[in-house]
Amino acid sequence: MQLNLFSLLYLLIMPEFTISKTFFLFLLFFIIPLVLFSQNFSLTGYVSDINSGEELLFASITTNDNTKGTVSNEYGFYSLTLPKGKYKIIFSYSGYQKKEIEIELYKSFSLNVGLKQIDNEVEEVVVTGERSDKNVTGTEVGTIQIDLKESKLVPVIFGEQDIFKSMQLLPGISSGSDGNSGFFVRGGDSDQNLILLDEAPVYNASHLLGFFSVFNSDAIKDLKIYKGGVPAQYGGRIASVTDIRMKNGNLNRWETSGGIGLISSRLTVEGPVFKNKSSVIFSARRTYADLLVKAFKKEYTDLNLYFFDLNAKANIKFGNKNRLFLSGYWGRDIFGMDFIGFDWGNKTATIRLNHIFSASVFSNTTFIYSDYNYGFDAGFNNFNIALDAGIYDYNFKQDYNWYLKNNRTISFGWQSIYHRFKPMGFKIIQTADSLSEDKITETKIDEQKALESSFYFAEKHTFNNELSAEYGIRFNLFNNIGYAVEKTYNESGEVVDSVTHKNNEFYHHNFCFEPRINITYLINKTSSFKASYSKIGQFLHLLSNSTSGSPTDMWIPSSEKVLPEISNQFSFGYFRNFSDNNYELSFEGFYKLLSNQVDYKDGADAFGNPDIETELVFGKGRAYGLEFFLKRNYGNLNGWISYTLLKSERQFDEINFGLPFSARQDRTHDFSLVLTYKFNPQIISSVTWVYNTGDAVTFPAGKYQIDGQIINLYTERNGDRMPDYHRMDFGITFIFNKNKRFYNELNISAFNVYNRKNAYSITFKTDEQTGKTEAERLALFGIVPSVSWNFKF
């Protein structure tokens, strides 16, 4: 133990150029001998839902005396290494009946286990099951796994279940404004959140300008968010990682589920191709506001206003050791009429092979494609304007889990992402008329390319009954790739020199070395203290010239001038469970230092600018806060209280006279209450109440007149506050399942029950009649009732 920690500390403090040498010494002296002299046997396999065959991620596998155990990994695979002997092994997962299996271990063997969901007939009910203490005993800090059943009961706007909205009710995670599914984690910016769907990055998780997220809850199996203590296998965003896994599809029987709501409907079909060997799932969702408008207003036949999502996944098992997955997502928002159109969307595709090399080595090989792009076009008279932009990723990833002993698991792997950036360009086509000839005005900015390569190594180590840790390192190397014309600018932003790089030439490198460590000290069986440190680098930067973000925001790569954003986060927490794990309580604190933060300078000329780097400023930031979380897991009344106390600041030489200023998402107080009450198995109600300090904004402190215009005078960047935000939502679900083969439910909900006018924006203007200047509030939503009907058969 001491040797390993010593090695890690040595790795942390040593000069970078000797890392690789020390790493191999580490392997040679402290890991390999453990394997060579091991006398243990391994019990391996998958834990899954007995009815659907869906793997259960992070399920618990322990011996009956609870002295040895493990959890299934993010693919449902587990490996438990024990000395020869007789054991009673307990498999458990929240919401499922635990299963005890007696085994006599005299050799390594495979055991796939199916668990039965409790109260399977009432599927949407929060059920009582195994009372997990993972929040106390696990090594993870600042990590939350979302319970999909809970999230489906949380009332949301338009009745559309949205796992992202539920996530934003947890401590440390702030939602955007009304109708915005962007979110902020521990004071970070929204582009600093890595969102993975079946390991493919999703660059814009919003539909309909933020009213919905792109994740169709019917197609999602699991969501886990890392706010701090991010494991070494993840990298590339400095604020958080949200790892979302799609369902694999029912391996045992065909199922159809769906829902019909006021403005959208969805349908999912899943089932086995070969029973217990191969399954598929297709899920689709579409809004139909445009169809309703067209139905009632015949003159709007050319209106397009909708979004759609398609999720598809297939998998097949090859023997006991191989399983191949193919999954994809395609979603797009389309707005337009005959003279104007605007659309954007994501596409992802994942090909994944799980392979079990041996009882102790599991591998995952993944190829991922992901893109996000948008387009706009408008035409009138003899003019046509078109612009488009996008980012395209090709990603190859290899992960290994090596179960050394029952108290030690090593993870390592590498990843290489080829990024292609298509910057915003536009074209104006003017057709000939009496005044002019055909003319095309076009800005075409060269595409940029980059290769982001990473290697990671991590170990999860339980030292004794009290102390466990997860520590690791991640190396990142980011290369810019030609063809490119690399320009040098003077202080005025004028080009003074340029170097041309050939196609596929690697011409600039950014490197980041990222140590991570989480430590858990179990005070007793029901309480623990945890601490973590993580360093993360981010090589992609989202440039936004609006305070709320928009689909047209632009991703750019790091370069010689735009250095990688770096976060150093320290966090700690006290975790305590009560009443046989019925109540979870946690206090967490964090302090985060941010460097190389990127922003536009005031008045930046961003539109189609080929020298966009001259419009940027670079600075630093910090965020710190405390989080409180109390949750009741079981019983007719359950739910949680969440509170976050936060300070988030940024500092740029060129902004606010070089003084620190509050980040827009600096919400001092953020409180959420979520309650669910089960009247009986057929009727469940839920209520949420949220309160937060208003966003930090810049309001005028005075005014002046120039050339007939009244212009506002400002004093301090983000020195003011939007009015405090609070809102209550209510929902009630009636479950009709007299016929077991056909389950259906009716959900009635109301968003913003007491019709609070929460400000979406405040603008300042002069009344044309009185000449007085005044503040005008725009509130997007008053009370919004909705109804939806969901079914499954």
């Binding site: 109708g179 709007y300 050319d302 009138f380 005031d602 008045g603 007939g708 005078l713 979406y760 005008e776």
Partner: protein, 271 residues
């Protein structure tokens, strides 16, 4: 920009708030700040006149007139030559005629308030362009064919020749019946049209009998940047950039600009 009903519907749907949003005027406690000196200084190459208006800012809710800064000492220096004083012709207004300006001439403006505060700004004269022609044609907003279109819109094409040898910046000021439409000016640069004939196409709501006048101001870069900043700050809300004070080209704490421009004017009577 004209909107008919169909366009409005689209815009509302576009922001996703057609049925539920509402606006109201609210009382908001805003910080107050010490009054700032506001300087609007223009040197018109076309009539060789200079005028600087110096005022003070007000608190946001203060409806009183903007105070004028009187008794300041204002001087203008051309091409590092001797400086000449600009007299105060009205309270807070300092003006002088007969200042001959040629393209590329450099000017230094010095202002000293009666309390001794100094503000200086430099500007160089642009190469003025002249309007070649202005052509109006009736304009039917897209998608409005099926509605009863009562408003009268005209598409106005304004053309001028850009000077190829230098970067040029323009501000087009529209007047209807000699009333300046202060919110409808247009800023243009020659980034994509250097040396070309620039065609500006814009749309105005005009009625028969109205007189439309367009002023083409070829301005120095600092003048252009100031009004470009003003445009940014006038666009408010979460979909726009964080507001800030236009930087202008004055040293010290004054807000404002010192601009030099050449003026070309075209008048049009709508029948």
């Amino acid at each position: 920009m004209p909107y008919n009903k169909k366009t409005r519907l689209f815009i509302f749907l576009f922001i996703g708030a057609s049925f539920f949003s509402c606006t109201d005027i609210i009382e908001l406690n805003l910080k107050n700040t010490e009054p700032k000196v506001i300087i609007e200084a223009n040197l018109n190459m076309s009539d060789s006149s200079f005028c600087a208006t110096i005022t003070m800012s007000n608190d946001f809710y203060d409806s009183s007139e903007f105070l004028k800064l009187e008794n300041a000492s204002v001087s203008l220096q051309k091409n590092s030559d001797f400086a000449f004083l600009i007299p105060e012709t009205e309270p807070g207004v300092y003006s002088k005629k007969g200042i001959v300006v040629n393209p590329s001439d450099e000017f230094l403006l010095n202002i000293t308030s009666s309390e001794g505060e100094k503000y200086t700004a430099k500007a160089s004269a642009p190469s003025p362009s002249q309007i070649l022609y202005v052509i109006p044609s009736p304009f039917i907003p897209p998608g409005s064919e099926q509605n009863n279109q009562t408003e009268k819109y005209y598409q106005i094409v304004c053309a001028w020749k850009d000077t190829a040898t230098v970067d040029n910046y323009y501000r087009i000021k529209p007047y209807i019946n000699n009333t300046f439409l202060s919110d409808d000016y247009i800023l243009v640069n020659d980034n994509y049209n250097n040396g070309d004939t620039i065609l500006l196409v814009t749309i105005f709501e005009i009625y028969p009998g109205d007189t439309l006048s367009l002023e083409l101001l070829t301005v120095n870069k600092e003048y252009y940047s100031f009004f470009s900043d003003v445009n940014y700050t006038l666009s408010q809300g979460p979909n726009y950039t964080t507001p800030y004070n236009p930087k202008g080209n004055f040293s010290g704490s004054a807000v404002g600009y010192f601009g030099i421009y050449g003026l070309s004017r075209f008048e049009l009577l709508i029948y």
